[in-house]
Structure formats: C-alpha cells, structure tokens
Amino acid sequence: MSADAGLILGVNLQGFGQRPAAWRTQDVEPTDLLTAEFWGDIGRIAERGLLDMVFFADHPALGDPNVRAYGLLEPFVALGAIADATTHLGLVGTASTTYNDPVDLAERLLSLDTVSGGRVAWNAVTTYDRSVSANFGVATNPERPERYARAGEVVDLVQALWRSAATGVPVDHHGEFTEFAGAISVPPSAQGHPVVFQAGGSPHGRDLAARVAEGVFAVELTPEPAREHYRAVKQAAETYGRRAADVAIVPGLSLVLGSTEAEAQRRFDELEALAPDGYSLRALGTHLDADLTDLDPEAPIPAPILDREVDPVTYGPSLGYHETVVRWVRSHNTSLREVLRGFGGYGARIVVGTPEQAADTIEEWYRTGAADGFNLMIDEFPRGLETVVDELVPILQRRGVFHRAYEDVTLRGRLGARARGL
C-alpha cells in the first residue's frame, strides 16, 4: 500500500500542453519548443513545486504539426536542457526497444544520468506506429509477441551493460535478437544507473513491467479497473521475487483547472473549440482502432466496434488504451456526441474543475490502491503547470499525501524512500 506523503507526481511534457490548441491560447512563439530556455523554465517551475519528474513520450516519425505540434526535439536532448536548469527533478525519456541499438542506448542513457547527477529514467516502449518503421528501413513493425520478446531482451541487455559499467565485468550476451560481448565504459551515476519505466498495458507489457520496471505509466479512466490492474502488476512483481513496492504505478491524469468549476469548463470549451476539426474523434478512433468519421453523432457507437475480439498478436495499437477505452465507452454510450464530450483526456482520466476537485480525485485513487502517483497531462505550458504548482500541490501537501521537501537528490533514491514510507 502507498505510504503517507508518498504520492509521486510527474508531468507529461506534450509540446505547449495536452490540449492541441495550447499554442493558440497563450502568448508563445511556436519555435519556443526548440529552445533550452523554454524547457529549462518548465523544469524550474516543476522543481519549485517539488514534482518528482518530467516525462517525454517519443515518436521517431513526424506527425502533422498542424494537428499537434510536439516532439520537435529528441526527448533526451530536451531532458538535457532541463537537467542543466534543475538539480533534483527526475528526467524520464522514452526510447524504443525496437528502433535503438541496445549498446548505444545503454551508453547514451547512462551518460546523461551521470551528467545530470543520477536523475534519469528510461521509459522502454516497443513502438507500434506504422509511420516509424519506414524511417528505419523496416516494411512493418514486428507483431506484439516479437516486439515484447525483443523488448525484454533489450532491457535485460541494457541493464546488464549498466552493471558492467560499474563492475568492469564484461557482458556475454547471446540472445534471440542481439549478440554482445563486452562492457561499456561510462562512469556510474549518483544513482548507479537510470531507473526503468514501462508503459504498455497489454498482458505482454504488464509482464515486462512486473519483471523489470521500477515504474509503470498506466492508462486508466475509472478507479475500479485501475485498482484491478494495480493489484495485478504488484502481484506479478511478487511472483518474480520482487516486492510490491518496487514497482510504482503511475497513470496519466489530464487536468484543466480553473478557480471555479465553471471557469475550468469555459477554458476546456475554448481549447476544444480551437482544436483541429475532429481531433477527439480521431483520438477515440485510434484507441478503438476504427474509423468513426461517418458515424451518426446522435447514435451510440455501434456494438460491433466495441464487441470486436482483438487479436493481441496482430493488433498494432496500444492494448492498454483499447481495453480501458472500450470499458469506459460501454458505460457512457448514449450517443457518440456524449461519449466525445467525456473523452477530453483522449484516453486518460480528465478533471475539468478546481484544484480542490483535482486533489479529491488524486487522493481517492492514491488512498484506495488505484495509483502510487500520476503523470499529469496539463492543458497548457507554462500556464497550466504554474497553476498545478501554486494551487494543487499545496492542497496535496496539506492533506498529507505529497512531500514537503525532496527526500534525495537521485530519482531512484526518492522512489525508494517513498516506497519505504520515509
């Protein structure tokens, strides 16, 4: 169970904010996303609020910047800029186990971990997006079992290489996908080596998380399934000889905050009105793996789309999102229009309301075993992050769920201290 004041809070850095129109509602220059100053300022604000970490997803292929401009910088380069502006903030970057060389990746992540004083985490993903494979000379992405078999091997090899950097004892790896004999010669970091996160919600993904991850970025819309998944991952970790507390479950949580609920709703509506046409519909369609554009908005989403048996081998997109979203749609399916109205988190739980209301949700999930913390998906950067730091964080501290000082300089030291209830 979660310890008092052990809530983990991270910030998901999605361009100018989670809302696709965030660049249109603030006084920002589009090219701010390319500067060390912009990301350094975000890091300083997050650190002022004692947040545990910032997080970058990764998509090594260009999407349409007019639909959503984010990911312009490679994640670990942007994290380097944030590292330079901060001293305690954890730095979590995503990198694909399919499209990186494991030895190069091990060197690169440990190097940044050493330079930043032991604050780096690697979010290991397998990458399913079809647009990515073409950038790497592969006709299609491998199917899920192969992707996860490779992911397991790559994570094991990367961690073995990190240990080799500390001990000098060479790795002798002969796997199904990679061969490597040798060591890497990067000096160990203040936390030894980077922390490992994992984000996949499929059975394969959860198994990998239970075996190797110290943190899991989960996809949850409602507390009861969240508690089921939370228990399942912790129990699976125990079957691998780990303690339940060794793996932290951190779902995404979308926030649009205002000083009153009505003000928050106005902000949400304004941001939605300025979003590209059909953005929510496409996001929902992605998670359901169905084209929803020709459906009647006044009718429920047709049962065949929701009832479809998904083959976990050949189904490309995230199974975690699919399962969570289908379950949620079934209980809200009065009409497509109504479903979309509640789908503002694009697959994550959303709070449109006051900081008190956001704190209620966070505290309930944390105290009832649905989450060890949250990866906050904030409407606008930097404005929305300042609201979180100045208004939401003090409420969580007063309620005794969030810390009042950094327990340790390193990310691993802090996650461990929180898990032990220190």
Partner: protein, 261 residues
C-alpha cells in the same frame, strides 16, 4: 608561409570528459581548459575513431554536449558519431535537436568506425550514413513554421518533404521527414574524420594537418595545471545575448544553399 591561420578546434580526450562529468564542478573546470586553448570550437568523442585511444572511459558525446555547451556559451561544439551501431535517423534527430538547444553552435563529426565497441553484423557505408543524416536535416525547413494562431496553422506543411532514401541491398532505407526542423545556421556543420571520403562534408577534421592541407587541424586540450586563472575565464565577460555567432560563423562556413529552397 603567409596563409591565414584557420580557426582552431580543440579536442577533449574521452577520459577527461568522463572524469569531468562524474565530479561536481568538473564540467566548469573543463570549460576553463577549453577556453584557455584559444579555440573557437571543441570536438568531443573523437577518440572513438582512433584504434589506439578509443577504449577508455567515455561518455556519449550527444548526452554530454548540452552541459558542456551551456558552460561555453560562445563556443562551437562538434560531437562524434559513427555508423558502427547507430542509425542515421536517430543521429540526425539528436544532433539537429542539440543544434537548436545550443543556439546553432553544433556540428557532427562522422567517422568510419567506433573502435570502442564491437561492430554489429550489419556493416554500413560511412558516406551513405553521412548522406542520409544531411538529407534528413533538409526535410523540414525552419521558416515553414508560420505560427498563424488565428488560422490555426502551425506550419506550411507543403514545404516539408520526405527523404525517400533507398540505398539498395545492404544500404539504408529511410523515408523521413525528420521530426525536427532545420536550425538557425541552416543545419549543423557536417564534418568527417580525415579517413572518411565524403564530398558533401563542410569540413575534414584530422589529428594533424596532413600533407594536402585539406584536413582541419585539431589542437590538444591544455593540461589543467596550465590554466592559471579559471575564475576570470569562467566569468561571463561576453554578452551572449548579442554575440549569437553560429558554428558556421565561427568556422567561416557558408549556410548550405539547399536549406529552405
């Protein structure tokens, strides 16, 4: 001999960079030594191209560049990479991203082989690697970002092009475009190590000036003991807000004409 001296580039041995990163204040002291060299730019990670020197403690140059580059706000930074294990899409993206966060002061040095690591089964041609990296840098022109808030138009996407590189059997196949737009200096400086034959490079770097005079000389890093006044050297005497010289400015290299065409 009346030739104009070329702007000098100093190399940092891998072991010095790794030792600096592992100690508090180490990067600032390394920056003092680099300033004391009188060079306008610094190359990191090039030991890996040398069979004799490429086997000690080291850092990934792209991971160390940001901290060193922020400690040296008016110097250029060249980072080393080889096709031994890395893919050109990943390298192109990281180096161009670095060029943005270090305000157009970055270059890439491509070598044939990273002697610090065993090779993979697939061997790639270094000239093709350099060609793909440079091609990817040219897929998304920076000035296509228009930021029209009223119309909701972030970029003029008609000007973003795929690369569609197909190197045939055993070569790279890379569609593009890159996730990152071109930079204030057009694109990072593309240098090659002296034993690489690639005509598209901006610069050839070598440990010593060779007989042909083609390779740009590299000067060694002064010893720590020879840096007498680190405190003065590290004080911000230059106005970095007005002195925003790019690496191309520092080295006297033109902006490639193809960028933004």
């Amino acid at each position: 001999m009346t030739e104009t001296p070329a702007p000098t580039i100093v190399t940092v041995p891998d072991a010095d960079l790794a030792a600096a990163a592992a100690r508090p204040g180490g990067i600032a002291r390394l920056a003092d030594r680099i300033r004391a060299s009188g060079a306008v730019a610094v190359a990191i990670g090039t030991d890996r191209f040398d069979l004799e020197r490429g086997r000690g403690h080291r850092l990934d140059p792209t991971a160390a560049a940001l901290a060193l580059g922020r400690a040296l706000p008016t110097h250029g930074l060249l980072v080393a990479a080889a096709p031994t294990r890395e893919h050109p899409y990943n390298v192109a993206r990281r180096v161009l991203s670095l060029d943005h966060v270090l305000d157009a002061r970055v270059g890439l040095v491509v070598g044939a082989r990273d002697h610090g690591l065993p090779v993979t089964a697939e061997q790639h041609d270094v000239a093709e690697f350099a060609e793909v990296v440079r091609g990817l840098w040219r897929t998304w022109p920076l000035d296509s970002i228009v930021g029209d808030r009223e119309a909701g138009r972030f970029a003029d996407t008609k000007r973003i092009r795929p690369l569609d590189h197909d190197g045939g059997p055993g070569g790279y196949r890379v569609r593009g475009p890159l996730t990152t737009p071109s930079s204030r200096q057009g694109e990072p400086v593309l240098a090659v190590w002296h034993d690489v034959a690639y005509e598209g490079a901006d610069l050839v770097l070598g440990a010593h000036r060779d007989d042909t005079g083609v390779a740009h000389p590299l000067i060694p890093l002064p010893a720590a003991a020879d840096v007498s006044e680190p405190s003065r050297a590290s004080s911000p005497t230059t106005d970095t807000a007005t002195d925003r010289r790019t690496l191309r400015d520092l080295l006297g290299l033109p902006v490639p004409a193809t960028v933004g065409a």
